[in-house]
């Protein structure tokens, strides 16, 4: 019996999901893009969503749950309005990534690895973002910010606060 989760999704998301599935030689292969589309729409992958995907792709619950729980960037807790991921890996660390993190934590009032209480900011570490030559780097929603200098973070902090105060950011197109 189809659950009603699908009604929560935007029509564009549903249309996208319908388009994605038949492109793959096997339905199960569409699991990741379907999860991505749902997360972009809802900013979370809920239990209802998982059950809905199970039916959509003719899978067992464990097939979906094992994938959701394996990949770090599928989230079962809602992501804040502004999602900040600061690279902590060596090249960025050599240029002061950890100092950047200290300042961001303080200025944003958000502890590393958490979402602020009002749900506006998620601040996390990321592992190497493939932007090591211009580190420290951070992925803020869809945008890569590079050369984050500990003594010149004003503009980035202002940008994060703006996004956190605004509406839900334009989602990634799955």
């Amino acid at each position: 019996m189809a659950n009603s989760f699908g009604n929560k999704l935007k029509p564009e998301t549903l249309a996208e999901i319908e388009k994605i599935i038949p492109r793959y030689p096997q339905k199960r292969s569409a699991l990741m893009p379907v999860l991505q589309a749902i997360q972009d729409d809802q900013r979370v992958i809920s239990n209802d969503a998982i059950e809905w995907v199970v039916e959509k792709l003719d899978l067992q619950p464990i097939n979906v749950l094992e994938v959701v729980s394996f990949f770090p960037n599928y989230r079962q807790k809602p992501i804040g309005k502004c999602w900040v991921r600061v690279c902590r890996t060596l090249s960025c660390a050599l240029h002061g990534a950890y100092k950047v993190v200290d300042i961001l934590e303080k200025e944003l009032g958000c502890k590393m690895g958490t979402t602020s209480e009002d749900g506006s900011i998620t601040l996390e570490y990321a592992e190497c973002l493939a932007a090591c030559g211009t580190g420290p780097g951070a992925l803020i929603d869809e945008d890569l910010f590079e050369n984050l200098k500990p003594d010149d973070l004003g503009p980035v902090i202002a940008e994060i606060k703006k996004r956190a105060a605004g509406g839900v950011p334009t989602p990634t197109k799955g």
């Binding site: 492109r23 990741m32 990949f71 950890y98 190497c128 493939a130 090591c132």
Partner: protein, 448 residues
């Protein structure tokens, strides 16, 4: 004379008048090679790629033409091609440039390779953290489709092949080809055991599958354009073509440099401007975080053709697969991380061990437990909480990970631990003896 770049793949990438649109690419002669390729016999293209000596740019340096020869063409099953754009090895950011700045070059490379191997469907597996890259690629594919370079009846040849852009979700192990395939099948990215799961025979959906790196596939276009003979003249024998080296860390001009036939010293000084003012180079990780570290003052022994020996240093290392291998490390993904004398080598090790323990997929006990164990030990060493036996435990334990797991990722803990401790033992022992937090202190490389 100062060394220069040899820009072939990146020829247009940073031209302000060049864009990711198909018109830009067509204006510089783009898709001409695909038009020509589809009139040729596929095996002729494969022979050219093999004769060019192109080696895989993803990490292992396996000859591309040999890989294509291993594809099972008698099974009657469809053949798949996967372009590996998971680019996650610490220090590596070359595929990012190729995808974001010249997507059509990659698409042409994929389509020629697909045609050459009778591929029915191709995939680009791109890491989640490159959302813009995924969008650029999708748009480029649609542009190419509209002009008949992707999809049905390519260039009127009757050959058809589509490309699907598939996004990852933040797991480094999806860069490993069989983990990638599992992920593409909608499962956890647990690597498969070889044998029997060689992708060329039992890959995606247990069909023959080719997995190649972004840079490798871009090179195919230029092999077609130049011909294998001309192409093979670039670089040294067995190390043909250019490589895009990514330099990060303590140099004056970090960045990506497409070069051929130069030395490590030429890259570090001529192109990257040498160390920061008042600093000295201390250590270099040549080919991505997994690879063994080089001490900058290390000396190596080479053999002359007459059998006599000569000595050389880090600056003299020929910057290619064989050159770096002869110095006891690997050029890997060409992600070079440079550290100067301000760096506490123990913290650098702890940082990378932290990466590999976070990224272990958890399938094999030695890698899952060993990398975490290594992280705990190295982190407490950096936090002034070391135990007397820690260093020995660390080294002996790390030696039992690589080679005892399904995929080669175990070595990503083994090699750094063995080489950092092996080459900087005095510094590390002194740190353990003093057992204080942040001895060098000015840059912190792990969490407090």
């Amino acid at each position: 004379m100062a060394a220069k770049e040899t820009r072939i793949l990146l020829k247009h990438a940073d031209d302000p008048n060049y864009s990711t649109s198909i018109d830009s690419y067509l204006a510089v002669g783009g898709y001409k090679m695909l038009e020509q390729a589809v009139t040729m016999k596929p095996e002729l293209i494969r022979a050219e790629v093999k004769a060019a000596g192109l080696r895989g740019r993803g990490g292992a340096g396996f000859p591309c033409g040999v890989k294509w020869d291993l594809v099972d063409r008698k099974s009657g099953k469809p053949i798949y091609l996967i372009c590996n754009c998971d680019e996650s090895e610490p220090g590596t950011f070359k595929d990012r440039q190729l995808v974001h700045k010249d997507p059509h070059q990659l698409i042409e490379g994929i389509m020629i390779s697909a045609y050459a191997n009778n591929v029915a469907l191709a995939f680009i597996y791109i890491r989640e953290e490159m959302p813009k890259g995924a969008r650029i690629l999708r748009q480029a594919i649609e542009e190419a489709r509209a002009k008949g370079y992707v999809g049905e009846n390519i260039c009127g040849s009757g050959y058809s092949c589509d490309i699907i852009v598939h996004r990852g979700a933040g797991a480094y192990i999806c860069g490993e080809e069989t983990g990638l395939i599992e992920s593409l099948e909608g499962k956890r990215a647990y690597p498969r055991i070889k044998p029997p799961y060689f992708p060329a025979v039992l890959g995606l959906y247990n069909c023959p599958t080719i997995v190649n790196n972004v840079e490798t596939l871009c090179n195919v276009v230029h092999i077609c354009r130049m011909g294998s003979v001309e192409y093979a003249k670039i670089g040294r024998p067995n190390n043909t073509g250019t490589r895009i080296w990514c330099v990060s860390g303590h140099v004056q001009r970090p960045g990506y440099y497409e070069v051929a036939g130069i030395t490590m010293g030429e890259l570090l000084y001529d192109l990257c401007g040498g160390p920061l003012p008042g600093r000295k180079f201390k250590a270099i990780v040549p080919g991505g975080g997994s690879m063994k570290i080089l001490r900058y003052d290390e000396r190596f022994k080479g053999k002359n053709p007459d059998g006599s020996e000569y000595e050389y240093g880090v600056d003299d290392i020929p910057l290619d697969f064989d050159g770096v291998a002869a110095a006891g490390s690997m050029s890997g993904s060409a992600g070079m991380m440079v550290m100067d004398d301000s760096v506490d080598i123990m913290e650098a090790l702890a940082n990378l061990v932290g990466f590999y323990s976070h990224e272990s997929c958890g399938q094999c006990t030695p890698c899952r437990e060993g990398s975490l164990w290594a992280k705990k030990i190295t982190w407490r060493m950096c936090r002034g909480d070391a135990r007397e036996q820690d260093l020995d435990t660390l080294v002996s334990m790390a030696g039992n990970i690589g080679g005892r797991t399904v995929c080669p990722m175990g070595f990503s803990t083994t090699w750094p631990v063995q080489s950092y401790v092996g080459k900087f033992r005095e510094e590390i022992e002194a740190k353990v003896r003093e057992n204080k937090v942040g001895m060098r202190g000015d840059i912190r490389l792990i969490e407090k």
